[in-house]
């Protein structure tokens, strides 16, 4: 019996919501097989990866620590992707936010004033925005493909970070380690619960999600972004300004990623080092698609992806497996999601043979 794909008359709403769940299930099954082939008991390993990290309050606050930057990046990317502007550069914009904000924090180490913290955050967001601006300018003036320019800008940003921590921003008393000095208290974001690392940046992230949600669903500008992404010529026909919208989504997304970056260095990390960006900007891409380009979905998807970071560390500690399993799980998620998404527009039917059809 053969099966074939058949186009649905109209897209399946149900499948659009089921597809991410199906992808998660398939990822878990593949993960179990993977663990088994590595000689670990699959259920126990999956438990270690996905449940153990969240057994106590510390685990949940750490989840928040990772959700905050992921969510900020993903919400910005959602805007871009809605307009079909494929900004892959959240990673670079994140790093620039970290470097810029970190630079300012290091200049203001001894200033103890209420405006220090907001200024650092603003400056970090601004740096992310400027980095995205480069891509927007290249796209609108030279029609340069934003996928290429933003990826290349990511590498430039990363090397800029390396240069800074190996050179101008290196801690003079740091025994030549490639790290900046630790930031002072007045330049650090306040934590939510005493003795835990979770800072108020999680509020920024949730707030941004709420604002973007309202923006996309209630305002004409948000509607224009959706139309531009869905149908280029309809946007032209309706008189929506394409270039203006491209600038808008890239700048908003750049500043949100920049904010995520500065909140990370002026938060849980507390200094500049070469490892400030563990791929949040890339993971955010997966989050946007897994979350169905909807803010609520994106919040949940951020939690799941945050968990993969913690699970990776957990299996490294408990089962002596490499931490790079994080990347593996993230990759499988995206892979299965893209495959399952085919079923939104198509369905699987049994291939019937017709009486007249023959060996065509």
């Amino acid at each position: 019996m053969l099966f074939k794909l058949e186009k649905r008359p109209s897209d399946s709403q149900l499948m659009a919501y089921c597809s991410p769940l199906l992808a998660v299930v398939l990822t878990l099954i593949s993960g179990a097989l993977l663990f088994a082939s590595l000689g670990h008991e699959p259920m126990k390993a999956l438990y270690t990866f996905f449940v153990l990290p969240l057994e106590d309050l510390y685990g949940w606050t750490e989840l928040g620590v990772k959700v905050a930057p992921l969510l900020l990046c993903a919400i910005g990317l959602m805007l871009c992707f809605k307009a079909k502007v494929w900004n892959i550069g959240a990673e670079g914009q994140f790093i620039l936010g970290g470097v810029g904000g970190g630079y300012l924090a290091l200049q203001l180490l001894d200033v103890d004033a209420f405006w220090v913290m907001p200024l650092i955050l603003l400056f970090g967001a601004l740096c992310g925005l400027l980095w995205a601006m480069l891509a927007a300018w290249l796209k609108t003036h030279f029609a340069a493909n934003e996928i290429l320019t933003t990826i290349m800008l990511n590498y430039i940003a990363l090397n800029l970070l390396y240069f800074c921590v190996h050179g101008p921003l290196k801690d003079p008393d740091g025994f030549n380690f490639p790290e900046s000095a630790m930031f002072s208290d007045s330049t650090l974001l306040p934590v939510i619960i005493e003795d835990y690392r979770l800072t108020i940046s999680i509020y920024f992230a949730l707030f941004a999600a709420a604002v973007v949600w309202t923006f996309m669903s209630r305002t004409l500008l948000g509607f224009q972004i959706s139309v531009l992404g869905e149908d280029h010529s309809a946007a032209r026909f309706a008189g929506f300004k394409e270039k203006k919208l491209i600038w808008l989504v890239l700048l908003v997304s750049g500043s949100l990623a920049g904010l995520a970056g500065v909140a990370e260095v002026a938060g849980p990390i507390g200094q500049l080092n070469p490892y400030i960006a563990p791929g949040y900007g890339y993971a955010a891409i997966i989050i946007v698609f897994l979350g169905r380009m909807h803010p609520i979905g994106i919040v949940f998807a951020s939690m799941l992806l945050a968990l993969t970071y913690m699970g990776g560390e957990m299996v490294q500690m408990d089962l002596a497996l490499p931490k790079s399993l994080t990347g593996l799980f993230q990759g499988m998620l995206l892979f299965y999601l893209l495959a399952c998404d085919l079923l939104i527009g198509y369905r699987i039917v049994r291939a019937k043979s017709s009486p007249i059809a023959d060996q065509a």
């Binding site: 109209s10 209630r218 305002t219 008189g239 929506f240 017709s354 060996q359």
Partner: protein, 508 residues
């Protein structure tokens, strides 16, 4: 013995039955019409004969023997030739090269001999064709000849033509008909697919009429009135046609002055010194074969392309350099040719598609969408224009062509534009919807709007236009009142011959 006979053909698609127990037979030397509205199942039936689509049930007999056509090349071997509505020619190759590509290798001895055969065949059937010309330099009518000659070179016994006249000027239609009659007199069977009844009555010996995938009747067109045939095509619930009063416009609303324009797109038509005035309270028709500059002209009127400010004016206000949004604010409504993917966003709901062009009214309040009003606006369009849809949340792409067109035109008309520009308003739309649309255009005209209709459908232009002109190769013909323009005159204009009427004394 019949040349071809199909019995009991059924073809199901998900959610629709394209053909249900359809039977049709064609004699040798017979010109047989296959009539029906868009979506009646004509194309599916043709594709089944040509072997491109496999039927679920039913049998096909070719010269008395049962056959199963395996595909297009098998069909050609049998002697079935087909001329599709959209030609499959390489524009950068010559006529001979194009034909050589489609013939079996054994048939092409040398290019020289092929050229001779092409010349022979084309002169014999009265289809002048220069084998050395590049296809991109040919008119649409000539390109169609290339397709026909290509079939004739292969000893075709059954020639299928899919709406061949929709791209031709009236004069070209006459030439084509002569060719077809000659072919038939030599024993070639012709299956002529159309929805233009006059042509069918002029040309065809027999007709099979399809409605909703079923055969609704057979007739001898010459002995049957147009109304009777139309009734078989559309069923009993639809009014057939309506007469509209002609009107004289008042002040000029749209004025295009000496507009020349060349876009960056190398394949676009250059507009040459176009001047045109459309008055409030009249419908101006622009005839012409597609690709002669209509699209470029419309883009300049809609604001999707901009030019010198003073070249285009709305009620005296220079708008040539303004975008679509500002022009809409000045009273422009626009119905583009492409419904899905320009006039409407395929994946968005009807409600959102209502907002697409109606955003400058009270649906949006200082940037905030009033979704309540958007929904009731969408519901109003659906009700007022009798759009068949699952509701305002249905995706635009789930609607049939005619229903979506009603929706788009309704969206523009309810906004009460002072100037409505329509491109091919009823192309591919069933008769019922077409009548509703024409009615709505006339009603809008009577409310005092200026309307510009660009169409390839000459019958339609005759029925609704108050004044008419034609466009050919980026140039506009003279404009005159409809009653002064004969079909011959219009045909000359469409072919680019703008010399004055010989019987002009009658008019003005």
């Amino acid at each position: 013995m019949k040349r071809i006979e199909l019995t009991n053909i059924t073809k199901r698609y998900p959610g629709a039955i394209a053909n249900s127990a359809v039977g049709i037979s064609v004699d040798a030397g017979e010109i047989h019409a296959l009539l029906g509205e868009n979506g009646a199942g004509k194309s599916t039936l043709m594709k089944i004969i040509y072997g491109v689509v496999k039927p679920d049930e039913g049998e096909m007999y070719w010269e008395g023997e049962r056959v199963q056509v395996r595909g297009a090349s098998h069909a050609r071997e049998l002697g079935i030739g087909m001329v599709f509505q959209h030609f499959s020619l390489f524009e950068t190759l010559t006529v001979t090269e194009n034909i050589a590509l489609s013939l079996p290798k054994s048939d092409v001895v040398s290019m020289e001999s092929l050229k001779q055969r092409i010349e022979e065949v084309s002169t014999r059937y009265g289809m002048k064709l220069d084998p050395n010309r590049y296809v991109h330099t040919l008119s649409i009518g000539e390109q169609q000849r290339v397709e026909i000659v290509r079939c004739l070179l292969q000893d075709v016994k059954l020639l299928i033509l899919d709406e061949p006249t929709s791209v031709l000027t009236p004069q070209e239609v006459d030439t084509l008909f002569k060719t077809l009659r000659k072919l038939a007199s030599e024993g070639c069977s012709i299956l002529f697919i159309s929805h233009k009844l006059d042509e069918v009555r002029a040309l065809c010996d027999n007709a099979t009429i399809l409605r909703g995938g079923k055969v609704s009747g057979d007739c001898v067109p010459r002995e049957t009135t147009t109304d009777e045939i139309a009734r078989l095509m559309v069923g009993n619930d639809t009014p057939l046609s309506e007469e509209y009063k002609k009107a004289l416009g008042q002040e000029v609303f749209l004025r295009i002055k000496a507009l020349s324009f060349q876009s960056d797109d190398p394949f676009s038509t250059t507009l040459k010194d176009i001047s045109l005035q459309v008055k409030s309270g009249e419908i101006m028709g622009v005839a012409g074969v597609a690709g002669n500059g209509q699209e470029e002209l419309l883009n300049l009127i809609s604001g999707e392309e901009v030019c010198d400010a003073s070249a285009v004016t709305f009620a005296g206000e220079a708008v040539g350099n303004l975008g679509p949004r500002q022009r809409r604010e000045l009273g422009l409504g626009f119905v583009p040719e492409e419904r899905l993917g320009r006039g409407a966003v395929p994946d968005m709901s009807l409600a959102n598609n209502a907002l697409l062009t109606a955003y400058h009214g009270d649906l949006v309040d200082s940037g905030w969408i009033n979704s309540h009003k958007v929904k009731s606006f969408a519901a109003q369009i659906i009700e007022q224009f009798k759009v068949k849809a699952a509701g305002i949340d249905a995706q635009a792409k789930s609607l049939s062509g005619g229903n979506l067109q009603k929706y788009i035109i309704g969206r523009e008309i309810i906004q009460a534009p002072k100037l409505l520009v329509c491109s091919h308003p009823t192309w591919g739309v069933d008769i019922g919807a077409a009548i509703l649309i024409r009615h709505a255009l006339i009603a809008l005209r009577d409310q005092g709007a200026a309307i510009l209709v660009v169409s390839e459908d000459i019958d339609e232009l005759y029925s609704i236009s108050d004044r008419i002109c034609a466009i050919c190769d980026g140039e506009l013909s003279p404009v005159d009142e409809m009653k002064n323009v004969s079909i011959n005159q219009l045909g000359k204009w469409m072919a680019g011959d703008f010399s004055p009427l010989t019987n002009q004394a009658v008019g003005v």
